[in-house]
């Protein structure tokens, strides 16, 4: 008896339904008299009940039965979604979620559902009876199952992430090997050999691309949990907040995605706690009492942008100034968001700010900025007093392999991520610390070099968000796809180095962090 197969199906299908339930429940709370969220909730809970009963999970079946009963009261028009009703419903979903997790880890779902069932019963006419469980106990469903019938709807396989990671690493090494081969063949006159190498190269590129794609997952996997979190935060803080999500079908490398929940949750908490005002304050300011937080993902070239945007009070520049003074830190000189962020992101700055139950001490915006930078991304901030604040994360699509420009400075080779290079150029020296390029004066970034006083030097224009700088070097060496190994920087490594890589000739190079340079 292949009971495990049904337990697995139960887990994956229940999870899907529970996620949908949370969405429907929040939609119902927003429109307490709407029929469709209730109908959809009813179907999901009904399905969970049927599966749980079939597997003999009496607690989950009885709880879903009681919940379904509440929902049918709502469907018949006797019950609307007050915040209290939604609270009980959310706790019911939590209980079911825990049960599903227990089934997943091989246990049978336990815990006392009776208090919750009683609470649900208090919301509606009492449910009639309990749900019948087939005889024979939970591990022996009352049927014998044969071999799996081919299901038409599932065309997915589950692959361990470690296996996928191994493939990504191999794909990356293969891509480097291809580059190395092409370089070796640069001098050959054997046309057939060259053609073969190029054909192989294209295949390697495609394999590499497909392997990376296999690791991509939609941001919805992470966003899914936030509507609930924002609602609970709002309830806790006595604020009315609505979370709007856009672009949750945008895909990101799983390695990046795994780092996002903490970062985004922190930003959302900030938005609700510090950004959104109380309903009274909002009305006094001529705003609707309900605050709006938007979580928006979208593609822009090779980057994914994720915005956390609120329509709250904006960052109080006076308070930031005062705090900076008190801590003896340089205050933001201008009103620009990025300068403000630089001050806010100093370690200890935001953790020293007002402490509430919600935002608490501990992680501050500095951790967000650092985490995003370690993923090869950057954080941008814009805030207008009284209008709201937007934090934008600009993330690479994938962390595994990136195209880079190779430059030489004295005896060292550096790789500059191509995403931050606007163009390669020849820079004429300008006034102290600047260069003149295409008639514009740009700040000069100089890592040293053998000819500091030459009338012109090669280099690249770095563009990071809205910031631009001229990186002057000794030689431009070319372009290459590099595999970036995350590095715990040893003592003595410059702060603008954020990784190391092995180039196609087998020798190492340092990876520059343009965000730290301009």
């Amino acid at each position: 008896m292949d009971n495990q197969k049904y337990r697995d199906l139960f887990v994956s299908e229940s999870r899907e339904h529970l996620q949908r339930c949370t969405r429907d429940l929040l939609a119902w709370e927003r429109a307490p008299h709407a029929a469709e969220p209730v109908a959809s909730l009813f179907r999901s809970v009904h399905t969970i009940k049927g599966m749980a009963a079939t597997l003999g999970f009496a607690t989950l079946a009885n709880l879903s039965h009681a919940f379904e009963h509440v929902l049918s009261s709502a469907r018949d028009g006797g019950l609307v979604a007050t915040p209290d009703v939604v609270d009980v419903a959310l706790r019911t979903l939590d209980f079911l979620e825990r049960g599903v997790a227990q089934v997943e880890s091989g246990e049978d779902p336990g815990g006392a559902a009776d208090p919750l069932i009683a609470e649900l019963g208090g919301l509606a006419r009492p449910a009639t009876g309990t749900w019948p469980i087939p005889p024979g106990g939970s591990d022996k469903p009352a049927f014998a199952a044969g071999p799996a019938a081919p299901a038409e709807t599932t065309r997915l396989v589950r692959v361990g992430l470690d296996r996928l990671d191994r493939l990504v690493t191999l794909g990356g090494e293969l891509a480097v090997g291809r580059t190395r081969l092409v370089q070796r063949l640069a001098g050959t006159t054997d046309a057939a050999l060259l053609e073969e190498a190029h054909r192989l190269g294209r295949l390697v590129d495609e394999v590499h691309r497909q392997v990376l794609l296999a690791r991509m997952a939609p941001v919805a996997e992470v966003f899914e949990r936030f509507p609930r979190a924002v609602r609970d935060l709002g309830r806790q803080l006595g604020k009315q907040v609505r979370l709007e999500i856009e672009g949750d079908d945008i895909e990101l490398d799983r390695a990046l995605l795994e780092q996002l929940p903490d970062v985004l949750l922190h930003l959302l908490r900030n938005a609700v706690d510090h950004g959104i005002e109380s309903p009274g304050d909002r009305q006094a300011a001529g705003k609707p009492p309900e605050g709006r937080v938007r979580l928006v993902a979208r593609r822009e070239g090779d980057a994914v942008l994720i915005d956390v945007e609120d329509d709250g009070r904006g960052i109080d520049r006076g308070a930031v100034q005062a705090r900076a003074d008190a801590l003896g830190l340089p205050a933001p000189t201008g009103a620009e968001g990025d300068e403000l962020l630089e001050v806010l992101a100093r370690p200890g700055f935001s953790t020293a700010a007002r402490v509430t139950d919600v935002s608490g001490r501990g992680v501050g915006i500095d951790v967000v900025v650092q985490r995003v930078r370690s993923l090869g991304g950057i954080t941008e901030l814009s805030s207008r007093s009284g209008v709201g604040t937007t934090v934008r994360l600009r993330l690479p699509l994938s962390v595994a392999v990136i195209p880079a420009v190779l430059v030489g400075v004295a005896a060292t080779r550096y790789a500059v991520p191509l995403a931050f290079v606007a163009e390669a150029a020849r820079f004429e020296a300008g006034e102290r610390g600047t260069v003149v390029h295409r008639g514009r004066t740009l700040p000069r970034v100089d890592l040293g070099g053998t000819r500091p006083d030459a009338p012109w030097r090669p280099g690249v224009v770095l563009a990071v968000g809205g910031r631009v700088g001229a990186l002057v070097v000794d030689t431009l060496l070319g372009q290459e796809d590099i595999v970036v190994a995350p590095m715990d920087a040893p003592r003595g490594v410059a702060p603008w180095v954020n990784g190391a890589t092995i180039l196609s000739d087998g020798l190492p190079a340092l990876v520059l962090d343009p965000a730290a340079l301009v």
């Binding site: 197969k5 049904y6 199906l9 139960f10 299908e13 959809s40 009813f42 179907r43 009904h46 399905t47 009940k49 049927g50 599966m51 009963a53 079939t54 039965h65 009639t128 749900w131 019948p132 469980i133 087939p134 469903p141 009352a142 049927f143 014998a144 199952a145 044969g146 071999p147 799996a148 019938a149 299901a151 038409e152 709807t153 599932t154």
Partner: protein, 120 residues
């Protein structure tokens, strides 16, 4: 030759289970549907000897699907798979043309009994 069956349920779990029960008993599950609308389309396409039909499904309920299928093929043999507490809906489904019903959670023997009775 085994009889052909179309299995309609919005849960993969239930479809898999019903398919397992039926195929082990020698029936041939030739298709599945996860909504009422799909059930009607698949029925037209596959002309199965028997249909198992869930009641609560998105995009057209099982009862509406029964009504639609029986309008096109009055000889259709449809077995309702309902959850407990839906007696009123079962009656409605029988009036719409369903021939019999079983109640979830299933016991394989009950399902097979009902199927055998329907297929004569």
């Amino acid at each position: 030759m085994g009889h052909t069956v179309l299995v309609c349920d919005d849960a993969i779990f239930m479809r898999t289970m019903i398919s397992d029960i039926l195929s082990q008993a020698g029936y041939e599950v030739i298709g599945e549907a996860e909504s009422g609308r799909q059930a009607v389309e698949r029925y037209r396409e596959l002309k199965p000897d028997l249909v198992t039909m869930d009641i609560v499904m998105p995009d057209m309920s099982g009862i509406e699907a029964v009504r639609e299928i029986c309008r096109e093929d009055p000889g259709a043999r449809i077995l309702m798979c309902s959850a407990m507490g839906q007696q009123a809906l079962v009656v409605e489904a029988i009036q719409a043309g369903a021939k019999d019903f079983v109640v979830k959670p299933f016991q394989a023997s009950r399902v097979l009994e009902a199927v055998q009775r329907l297929l004569g």
